[in-house]
């Protein structure tokens, strides 16, 4: 059974590649409906488990808010130390146990591949809220929603991806999702954190044009979207190198002078030093509203996975 067939079986969302272009656009349409009217009770009487085996603020709170606004109830934990996994219970057993109580499971786990495995063994839908450095599809969908809202279209946009392009799961998923919409990418990263070859191969296979540069300054004047990510200290073997590059990739308000009027700056958050606070008041800064969009997108996702569930 392919992963797609497996996920269709229980309607899970593990990776952005599980969704076709049409399914992505349907989620974005539905998110716009929820933004206009956030308190529709589509999950009335449903119980959703949020299993967070590692800490998360934004993602957990927005999923839980989404479920509550949809009229559903929440069970779960926000720290693996308070779950039976700390006693050595396997993920397989945890998922089977929780699926006895819940209509769907939202899960974050530090190990990569957990969501796919959980979707295989679970009788109820799994929504991946991040599995290690692998996938975080609800983030990708809220990124797409933010792009659509600010640009009016997803087609033919120039998108600059900046920062940790090697380990950053959000940028990898964004490339895959945007591949449906004829984008042009510019990858801006230090040599240690360059975009991995497999994603460049993916771009070539899908006729997506891209350039690969190291300098941030003056390299995004033609961009519609500037997608910033955090350069993480722990990724560097040479801390001197980290000290050298960390401020090179700091966006300052003065750097936005010659950019296009429709440019919007996105960031999956949390940020550390890669966006100077003086950018926050610029109308091109969109990252906080982007986080708010996460609520509507997650309402759309939860409605789709729970209500479209196939009866076996």
């Amino acid at each position: 059974m392919t992963t797609k067939e497996q996920n269709m079986k229980n309607n899970s969302l593990v990776s952005i590649s599980d969704y076709s272009k049409e399914e992505i656009l349907a989620i974005l349409d539905s998110a716009a409906d929820f933004e206009a009217n956030p308190n529709r009770k589509t999950l009335d009487g449903k119980v959703i488990a949020t299993l967070f085996f590692e800490p998360s603020t934004r993602t957990r709170l927005s999923f839980e808010t989404a479920v509550i606004r949809l009229g559903g109830s929440i069970i779960g934990f926000s720290d693996a130390a308070t779950s039976s996994s700390s006693k050595g219970e396997t993920l397989n057993d945890t998922i089977h146990m929780v699926s006895c109580y819940a209509d769907a499971i939202v899960m974050r786990h530090p190990l990569e591949g957990t969501a796919r495995y959980a979707a295989e063994v679970s009788p109820v839908p799994i929504v991946n809220a991040g599995d290690g450095a692998n996938q975080h599809p609800s983030q990708t969908l809220l990124d797409l929603y933010s792009i659509l809202k600010t640009q009016g279209t997803l087609e033919n946009l120039t998108i600059c991806l900046v920062g940790d392009l090697k380990y950053g799961r959000t940028v990898h998923s964004l490339i895959m999702a945007m591949s449906h919409f004829n984008p042009t990418f510019k990858f801006i990263a230090p040599d240690e954190l360059k975009m991995p070859d497999e994603y460049k191969v993916f771009c070539k296979k899908n006729n997506i044009s891209f350039t690969d540069v190291s300098e941030l300054t003056n390299n995004f004047n033609d961009a519609d979207i500037l997608y910033m990510t955090r350069v993480q200290k722990e990724r560097f073997q040479d801390l001197m190198e980290y000290e050298r590059v960390k401020n090179v990739y700091t966006l300052k308000n003065s750097m936005l002078e010659n950019t296009k009027s429709n440019l919007r700056i996105l960031h999956p958050l949390p940020r550390v030093s890669e966006i100077d606070p003086d950018v926050d008041s610029n109308e091109k800064a969109y990252y906080f509203r982007q986080a708010q969009n996460g609520l509507y997108v997650r309402q759309a996702i939860m409605s789709k996975v729970v209500l479209n569930q196939k009866q076996e």
Binding site: T3, S15, T90, L91, N92, H109, P110, L111, E112, G113, T114, R116, Y117, D131, G132, A133, N134, Q135, E198, V201, K205
Partner: protein
Amino acid sequence: MEKKLKVAALRNGTVIDHIPSDKLFKVVSILHLDTCLNQITLANNLESAKIGSKGLVKISDRALEEDETNKIALIAPNAKINIIKEYEVVEKRPLVLPDEIREIVQCGNPNCITNHQPVVTRFFVLNEEGVNRLKCRYCEREVRLEEVKIK
């Protein structure tokens, strides 16, 4: 004549020939021959004009299925599989990499769930521009065939 004396003829079963000598016991492991109750003949470090030194496996009274023999394609792509009936070769079976490889490969990503929980490994076999790569079904990392770790 001398060759025939080294390895006895097989009446019925499967012969796997031209296994690189350093891969013979991996083949034994992959095919679970250590628990197979049929008569099995193993030979190793035989002279080979093609590969220098080769190994050989003969399994009596059992014709391996294609999905079994294809597992060998990963580690010994040039091995030759012959199915024997009444001392005659009735099938020369080409080795084909399957679309998916289960169990025998270990994921190289230390943060993959398959390295932490009792999960059977599953890899998709990809072919891009003539180069085979394996992609972990779970953590989605890709590795080149030469970098694959056999369990």
